[in-house]
């Protein structure tokens, strides 16, 4: 009834300063010097960490399996270059906490000698199951940032009989151009990857959605896909967060994914465009995912550009390659400026999720004083989900987390649009992340309390049972003794 108040294709969103021009016209640099040491975390994906199978001192070849995937949702990791395993140790992870995680360290030998995998002769005629197997074996995960194991998604797609594969090439985050460049330079391989995915899922058609601020990428993709009618390449308006997969789906199909469901529920699977390139490499060339294109940009970088980086390279080396000016550096970020995570220092490895390394200067992160909310409802207008950020924040401020949940806290995608537009500079997303964390730890505490209670009850029961058994035993002994005495007495009587 009130649908006229709602744009059916796109809701909310913002126009942020793009900062893409700095990097989008330069070719991907492939001449990053090979680092002396590579640090490969065993967990670079959603799910269980991989289990190392190499020993310290062992020599490995480029692309050789280092750690195998454990369980259904997991992904293996491979050697980004040839060399000797120096250690399997705890090393700071690319995360705001920089807490250490299990990491395989390789000392490279500079020979870049590849491990020999069999290369399929007709990759586009492989069985769907075989394609998924190869994608999983190559450690391919979602490269848009979610790092969900791609093979799991492909299998899910095949089982659910999907009708559309949506390729998300929105790349709506400011600064980032790694997908843009990949499409400009490697469109043929990307289209190959899309065809393999379609085959892997038995899906009839694919749509590639590209924001209209990437005309070169759009043209390249169109040219590469003309002979494949099952693939359509379309432009979508540039408006953050167009690259939120559910948003792009709504824009292109008019359908929404149920709040409690997945894309497969409405017959769609969504993959990032960089993932399709990794799929092509994995299936056609038998190359596991051992490098990725990373956008290095920001006001403190003198040579902003896209660089193809071996997984495990320290960010400090990539930044040095692009000329970071440390005196200008105000904040280091992995990912884009809207949703990326702050890193305390650059001595952490590039992982599969690292789409960008941003060294922002003080001018980039203009941060005025926080003022009171004037209820201007800019945040309500900007929210792509349809939430009331100002109301949620005021509930959280009053420590009424349940009220915030009632307002839809759990539907928040942390896209940052509300904080971006807030004229009072209120850190809304921070409130929501804090509240989510609080709710999680509260749940943990409740769970723990329940467990403790259950264990205590069990113990009481057990003790009572033991006591009852002991009494029973004692009674039985007494009875037996009484019976024996009675028998002896009887026998004596008889003898007498």
């Amino acid at each position: 009834m009130f649908a006229f108040l709602e744009n059916p294709k796109f809701r909310g969103g913002i126009h942020a300063e793009e900062h893409k021009a700095e990097t989008c016209d330069k070719p991907i640099a492939t001449n990053l010097p090979l680092p002396k040491k590579l640090y490969i975390p065993v967990q670079q994906h959603v799910g269980k960490p991989a289990e190392p199978i190499v020993k310290v001192g062992e020599h490995v070849l480029k692309g050789q399996l280092l750690a195998y995937s454990q369980g259904t949702i997991s992904a293996p990791v491979h050697a980004p270059s040839s060399g000797v395993i120096l250690d399997v140790q705890d090393f700071p992870a690319p995360h705001p906490s920089a807490l250490p995680i299990r990491t395989i360290v390789i000392e490279t030998d500079g020979e870049e000698k590849w491990f020999k995998y069999a290369i399929p002769e007709k990759p586009f005629e492989l069985d769907p199951e075989e394609i998924c197997l190869r994608v999983g074996g190559a450690g391919v995960v979602g490269l848009g940032g979610a790092v969900f194991p791609s093979a799991v998604k492909l299998n899910l797609g095949r089982k659910n009989q999907i009708h559309t594969l949506l390729i998300n090439a929105g790349e709506c985050e400011p600064y980032l151009t790694c997908d843009d460049l990949l499409m400009q330079e490697r469109a043929v391989e990307i289209v190959g990857g899309i065809r393999l995915m379609l085959r892997g899922m038995n899906a009839p058609k694919a749509i590639v959605g590209i924001e209209d601020n990437k005309p070169k990428a759009f043209k390249a993709m169109q040219a590469a896909s003309t002979e494949f009618q099952q693939i359509s390449v379309v432009q979508v308006p540039t408006r953050y967060p167009m690259g939120w997969d559910r948003q792009m789906l709504r824009y292109l199909t008019g359908n929404e994914i149920p709040a409690d469901g997945r894309a497969t529920d409405i017959g769609v699977v969504i993959h990032n465009v960089a993932t399709t390139y990794a799929v092509y490499q994995a299936v056609c060339l038998s190359k596991p995912l051992i490098s990725r294109v990373v956008t290095v940009s920001g006001g403190a970088v003198s040579k902003p550009q896209n660089v193809e980086v071996p997984i495990g390279t320290l960010m400090s080396e990539v930044l040095a390659f692009c000329g970071v000016e440390n005196e200008k550096l105000a904040r280091l970020i992995m990912g884009g400026p809207m949703m990326g995570e702050v890193l305390p220092h650059a001595d952490v490895p590039v992982v599969k999720a690292s789409s960008g390394i941003l060294a922002l200067s003080h001018e980039d992160i203009f941060e005025p004083e926080v003022k009171p909310c004037i209820r201007c409802s800019s945040c309500v207008t900007a929210c792509p989900v349809g939430l009331l950020p100002l109301e949620m924040a005021s509930r959280i401020k009053a420590n009424k987390l349940d009220a915030a949940v009632d307002l839809g806290l759990k539907d928040c995608i942390s896209c940052g649009s509300c904080s971006y537009v807030c004229p009072s500079n209120i850190p809304l997303v921070h409130y929501f992340k804090f509240a989510s964390g609080e709710l999680f730890s509260r749940q943990q505490r409740e769970h723990k309390a329940e467990q403790t209670k259950r264990l205590a009850e069990n113990r009481t029961q057990r003790m009572e049972r033991i006591k009852a058994e002991a009494e029973e035993d004692a009674r039985r002994v007494m009875e037996a003794r009484a019976a024996r005495q009675a028998a002896e007495a009887k026998a004596q009587e008889e003898n007498a």
């Binding site: 009130f2 108040l5 709602e6 913002i14 942020a16 300063e17 400011p174 559910r246 929404e256 994914i257 149920p258 709040a259 409690d260 469901g261 529920d265 409405i266 904040r331 970020i333 400026p337 809207m338 949703m339 990326g340 995570e341 702050v342 941003l358 922002l360 980039d364 992160i365 203009f366 941060e367 004083e369 926080v370 003022k371 009171p372 004037i374 209820r375 409802s377 309500v380 207008t381 929210c383 792509p384 989900v385 349809g386 939430l387 009331l388 307002l407 539907d411 942390s414 940052g416 904080s419 971006y420 537009v421 807030c422 004229p423 009072s424 500079n425 850190p427 997303v429 921070h430 992340k433």
Partner: protein, 351 residues
């Protein structure tokens, strides 16, 4: 307390509270300037007294509250309140009306609730209504159009504003709405009551009225500019003006001797100022598009009802305050639909 934690997003838009207030002030200036031109020195004095006292009360309240005074004083919200209070006053009102008005607006209208962003009622409308009830004579003495070159000189004007000089009956009269209301009570009928009325002059603003409310066209221009700047959205002004237009046209068609036409309604009193600058006040209006449509329509309906059947010729102040009081209720019940959910908040059906 106000230290921002390091959290995404790491960039932000350049628009700040101060900029919003500056733009609102800028959008008010044409209508205010025209009002000062129209009513001469006294209007200028009254505006200055009102704005300065608004700033003074704001500073005192901020000081009492503790914490930063200067940065809040510079956000411009007190100036906006002062200007709006001044613009709704009769141009020859004495200085103390301006001071009391600003005091009511800033202290009772804003800081007793906790300051910027916390108030339930629009401060300027609260002041206007309180003044109207407390000082009916001063608040309804409407002076004739008297621009600088024809009206009183600076000294006479100074005396009127600051030392309570008598305002001669010869230079005062009734506003259109007041005149018609009185006429009805004396069993006079439309359209005779409007024999001297010029729709065009009312649109331009060449008529008796409050200091900054007379010119429909200039307020409209300021309001449209604010819309273009993205400071206000169309929902409240359009629904407010549309509901007045609809109701007045309907009743005018039924009985044109007792009900004013839409044109007279829209060009009289504070309707335009309220539609674009008062009802759109962020703090006291709902947050969602649908909520704002309900709010605007409510204001429009109440304005028409009070004007047509109430005891006061003008009803904008009461209408806005009444709708302010239901804003929390509207915000509680009217919420946007969340992605992947129905309006009730249940997940939509898949497949």
């Amino acid at each position: 307390m106000n230290i921002k934690p390091i959290s995404s997003p790491h960039v932000s838009s350049a628009r700040r509270v101060d900029d919003i207030m500056k733009k609102v002030i800028f959008a008010l200036l044409p209508a205010l300037g025209f009002g000062i031109f129209l009513f001469g020195w006294s209007a200028l004095f009254l505006t200055m007294v009102t704005v300065l006292s608004a700033l003074f009360f704001e500073a005192v309240c901020l000081k009492l509250k503790g914490g930063a005074v200067e940065s809040y004083l510079r956000d411009g919200s007190a100036i906006v309140t002062g200007l709006l209070v001044a613009m709704t006053l009769p141009p020859y009102a004495p200085w103390w009306i301006g001071v009391v008005g600003s005091g009511l607006a800033i202290i009772l209208g804003k800081h007793v609730y906790g300051g910027l962003g916390q108030n339930l009622f629009n401060p300027a409308m609260l002041a206007r209504v309180a003044l109207l009830i407390s000082f009916p004579i001063e608040m309804t003495t409407w002076v004739n159009v008297s621009p600088f070159f024809t009206g009183l000189d600076i000294l006479e004007s100074f005396k009127i504003t600051f030392s309570g000089a008598e305002i001669s009956d010869a230079i005062t009269g009734a506003t259109t709405l007041g005149f018609v209301k009185t006429g009805f009570s004396q069993a006079q009928l439309l359209p005779d009551l409007l024999n001297d009325y010029s729709g065009f002059l009312a649109f331009i603003g060449w008529e008796r009225g409050s200091l900054g409310e007379t010119s429909t066209v200039l307020i409209l221009l300021g309001g449209l500019w604010l819309m273009r700047q993205g400071i206000i959205q169309w929902f409240i002004p359009v629904s407010l003006l549309a509901s007045i237009t609809f109701l007045s046209t309907l009743f005018n068609l039924i009985d044109s001797t007792h009900y004013l036409s839409a044109w007279v309604h829209l060009n009289s009193g504070a309707v335009m100022l309220v539609a674009f600058f008062i009802a759109t006040d962020y703090v006291t209006s709902p947050n969602t598009p649908l909520g704002q449509l309900i709010f605007g329509t409510g204001c429009g309906v109440l304005i028409f009802v009070i004007r047509s059947w109430g005891g006061y010729p003008e009803g904008t102040g009461f209408a806005v305050l009444l709708m302010n009081s239901v804003t929390p209720l509207i915000d509680h019940y009217v919420r946007p639909r969340i992605y992947g959910r129905t309006r009730d908040g249940k997940p939509i059906e898949g497949g």
